[in-house]
Symmetry: C2
């Protein structure tokens, strides 16, 4: 069996997310359909992680196995020819047969973009969360610091909705940086793994604090509660981008 690793960029606006769903069109489904057209058999494309409806990716990783050895350049070209323009295969490389895009991932980087401009740039409406309320950037910085490190993120995860609440929710956030942009902020998350909706739930809670609706001191209490209801609401999907998935060398 040959195993191939794909790097995929997509605009998530029109999709129900990465993963195949009974209702709605997913990115995985369209890629698997395109793979089937070329390879003439059912092929499973295993993604490094779910992205939700409306979430974007600059470099999602997926792998698929086939009995044929592929001309990867030509194959990538054919695949892109079959896919809509909002999904692009950026790279395909052969990997060892045991490579698994999800299990082998050691870290991921997500960026969440907020814009604080008075009037939102219409060209960014699908890619930036427009925060209309006044936010205190000092508080945003201080809140960010409290999430860095190893924590049980049960309160910031919607895994229960997936029937997976009993799973280990301890994750490590190595980095949560705030980078100033022309008309807003980019929140860079780097972690060893992220639970379902974890980035959006953290961003929503950080913004609650920066708006003055919650106190900084509540973060340790929220984390300790291990209860989704303790933390804030999720920030909207369209500000979130999966930027990088790292694997051991």
């Amino acid at each position: 069996m040959y195993n191939y690793k794909m790097t995929i960029a997509y605009d998530g606006t029109l999709y129900c997310g990465w993963q195949v769903q009974p209702n709605g069109t997913s990115i995985q489904e369209l890629i698997q359909k395109a793979l089937k057209v070329i390879l003439r058999c059912d092929v499973n494309a295993t993604g490094a992680g779910r992205t939700d409806a409306g979430v974007h990716a600059c470099a999602q990783i997926a792998n698929f196995k086939t009995e044929e050895e592929l001309n990867i350049f030509r194959f990538k070209h054919s695949l892109n020819g079959l896919l809509p323009h909002d999904i692009r295969i950026l790279e395909i490389i052969p990997v060892p047969e045991e490579f698994h895009a999800q299990r082998d991932a050691v870290s991921k980087i997500y960026h969440y973009y907020i814009t604080t401009s008075r009037i939102q740039d219409p060209f960014k409406r699908l890619y930036r969360y427009h925060v209309r309320e006044k936010i205190d950037i000092e508080l945003l910085h201080k809140a960010a610091k409290q999430f860095v490190g190893t924590h049980d993120f049960t309160s910031f995860s919607n895994e229960a909705h997936l029937g997976a609440a009993s799973k280990n929710a301890v994750r490590k956030i190595m980095r949560l940086d705030l980078i100033e942009e022309q008309d807003g902020w980019r929140l860079e998350f780097e972690g060893d793994g992220f639970l379902y909706k974890m980035v959006r739930n953290i961003v929503g809670t950080m913004l609650d604090i920066a708006k003055g609706n919650r106190q900084l001191g509540e973060i340790p209490i929220m984390l300790a509660a291990r209860d989704r209801r303790a933390a804030g609401q999720a920030a909207p999907a369209h500000g979130l981008f999966l930027i990088q998935v790292a694997y051991p060398d």
Copy 2:
């Protein structure tokens, strides 16, 4: 009568263009509807220029007249509340009663964006023309130079389709600059006025030359022909942005 000048940004993707059309939704129509909701009477919003279906604007200018004096800050806010997120009123200012957004415009700046990356960035698919063929940038520069100056642009205009072919087609292009971008080129047009589809027809012809499908020496012949059939095809709408409309001080 009070006269107000609006600066408007819009993503043209979903619209049939600026101007009210029998088929399709136009930006002008939506703005006039929103004005009617607030002012409770029919209001005409006169645009500085038509933009075609799919063409974007960072700063279209329009004016409208009303018998009410407006609180412009609050009015802008209400208008944006009624408009879809892909149309934003950036500014409203009072102007003399005789100001006319179209007649008084002395120059306009349009930018046309092309991307030459192997694989198009999915986030730019609606805002950049993806040129797959190899293009000679030297030829693009040389072609640009030949369009600068005062010419009869009949061959580069689709005015005939508007039943306006007999109109004076002499226009002056003050500037046609090529600016290198991260994954392509930005063509900056500044002129005293542009005929229907003129920018796109010039870009299409320039690209024909840069791809080697037409000769540089054909440009003077095309211009002299005063016949739309002499020049190249229009470049697609989605790469074009109306950037600025200038008025006398």
